[in-house]
């Protein structure tokens, strides 16, 4: 069952919070993972792997580099749900 963009954002925010302690409501669409949220590449990969499990999508290594903002990640997950 496909989730809405809002649901995906909420789910992703929860994963970010679990991994980094960043407040879920700070995880907004326009925010950059590295520049705004200060998430390093190792934490980012943990979030990506957990997102694969949570949303049932595959996010290959080459794609991770393209996920600059939260919106990039939400859009990728939303469009690739099984």
């Amino acid at each position: 069952m496909a989730l809405s963009e809002q649901d995906v954002l909420a789910g992703l925010a929860e994963l970010v919070n679990d991994e980094t302690g960043i407040a879920a409501d700070a995880v907004q669409m326009e925010k950059s993972f590295t520049d705004d949220l200060d998430i390093d590449s190792i934490s980012m990969m943990t979030i990506v792997v957990n997102a694969e499990d949570k949303f049932g999508v595959k996010i290959p290594d080459e794609e991770v580099k393209n996920l600059i903002t939260v919106a990039d990640a939400v859009n990728f997950i939303t469009s690739n749900q099984g």
Binding site: D40, S41, I42, M44, M45, T46, V48, V49, D61, V64, K65
Partner: protein
């Protein structure tokens, strides 16, 4: 027609003793942060490393390997002349031939031992232990010296932000021999050549010879390697534990390749070991020493009395290749 005579197999093998040698220069994060536009805080947060030990000019890979080997031999109860095989796991011996192992065998007095190098990067020591176990139990060799030794500082770039700042120099040695009880479990090992380009060198020596590249140095795609090292290697660790017949609570220690504290922490979390299992983190003070990292980390746990001889340790090496190997061993 006559049939061929075979060796009399031996039932079990174990590690008798360990030896360790680290580069004699302690290099702090502050000393290397400048050229990579970083800081002590960033390096500690990103990798857990506080210092790395490096061998200065005048201290060679062979010096490190000999020192570690001599300690292991002295503690083993056997004479060097009794060693039947010398295996040196390394990526940094600076000659294509002759092997480092032949030089090492001569230096430590392992006269006429079979001697060869293994190039399996951070899995090298566990590959060497697998080989020693097989050589002994097949009846081919009685005592085997396995050394993981590296002078990685010969192959790093001070401006490389992907891996160079993690790396240290050192050697860890083990004497392996026959045992009256199982001391080494079945090795789970393999490779993933499709990802050959994820960790390696900036060029080949031929590229360097032909002026196409600078001196080849180590480099990696950190994010991809992190994902593989945690989520794929945890599966290997679970397989190795199952193959050993043990449950997680039967372990005394987890000794992973000392790649990065973030990898070690996530690995231990994913493996779900009870808190009683000691997790080796020698990398904090030694750095990542590739093939040397597991024996150095295990030696440290024993030397600092964090674990007792006779307990079981799950050791797993993984890295460039990509190559990996894991087994459970009885702590010497």
């Amino acid at each position: 027609m006559k049939s061929l005579k075979q060796n009399d197999p031996v039932q079990y093998s174990r590690i008798y003793s360990l030896g360790a040698s680290r580069g004699s220069s302690e290099v702090t994060n502050d000393e290397i942060a400048g050229p990579i536009d970083s800081s002590d805080e960033w390096i500690r947060q990103r990798t857990g490393i506080v210092t790395r030990m490096r061998a200065p000019e005048g201290q060679s890979l062979m010096d490190l390997a000999v020192e570690a080997s001599n300690e292991a031999i002295a503690k083993s109860g056997i004479e060097p002349s009794e060693i039947d095989a010398v295996i040196l796991a390394t990526i940094s011996f600076p000659y294509a031939t002759p092997s480092g192992a032949t030089m090492l065998a001569g230096e430590v007095g392992a006269t006429d031992a079979a001697a060869y190098d293994i190039s399996a990067a951070c899995a090298g020591y566990c590959y060497g232990i697998a080989q020693a176990d097989a050589l002994i139990r097949s009846g081919n060799s009685k005592y085997v010296l396995v050394v993981g030794g590296e002078k990685l500082s010969d192959f790093i770039s001070p401006t490389d932000r992907s891996i160079s700042f993690l790396l240290g120099d050192g050697a860890g040695a083990a004497i392996v021999g026959p045992s009256d009880h199982p001391g080494i479990s079945k090795t789970v090992w393999g490779s993933d050549g499709a990802n050959w380009d994820k960790v390696g060198m900036t060029g080949s020596i031929l590229d360097f010879r032909d002026g196409k590249t600078e001196w080849p140095t180590l480099v990696q795609e950190g994010q991809s390697v992190f994902r593989w090292a945690v989520w794929e290697m945890v599966k290997v660790a679970k397989d190795a534990l199952e193959a050993s017949g043990l449950e997680p609570e039967d372990l005394t220690a987890l000794v992973t390749h000392q790649a990065n504290v973030r990898i070690i922490d996530e690995f231990a979390k994913q493996l779900g070991l009870p808190e009683t299992v000691v997790v080796a983190k020698d990398i904090v003070e030694t750095g990542n020493t590739s093939a040397a990292s597991i024996p150095l980390a295990m030696h440290r746990l024993l030397a600092e009395d964090k674990v007792k001889s006779g307990g079981y340790a799950l050791q797993i090496g993984f890295g460039a290749g990509l190559a990996y190997a894991a087994q459970v061993v009885e702590l010497p």
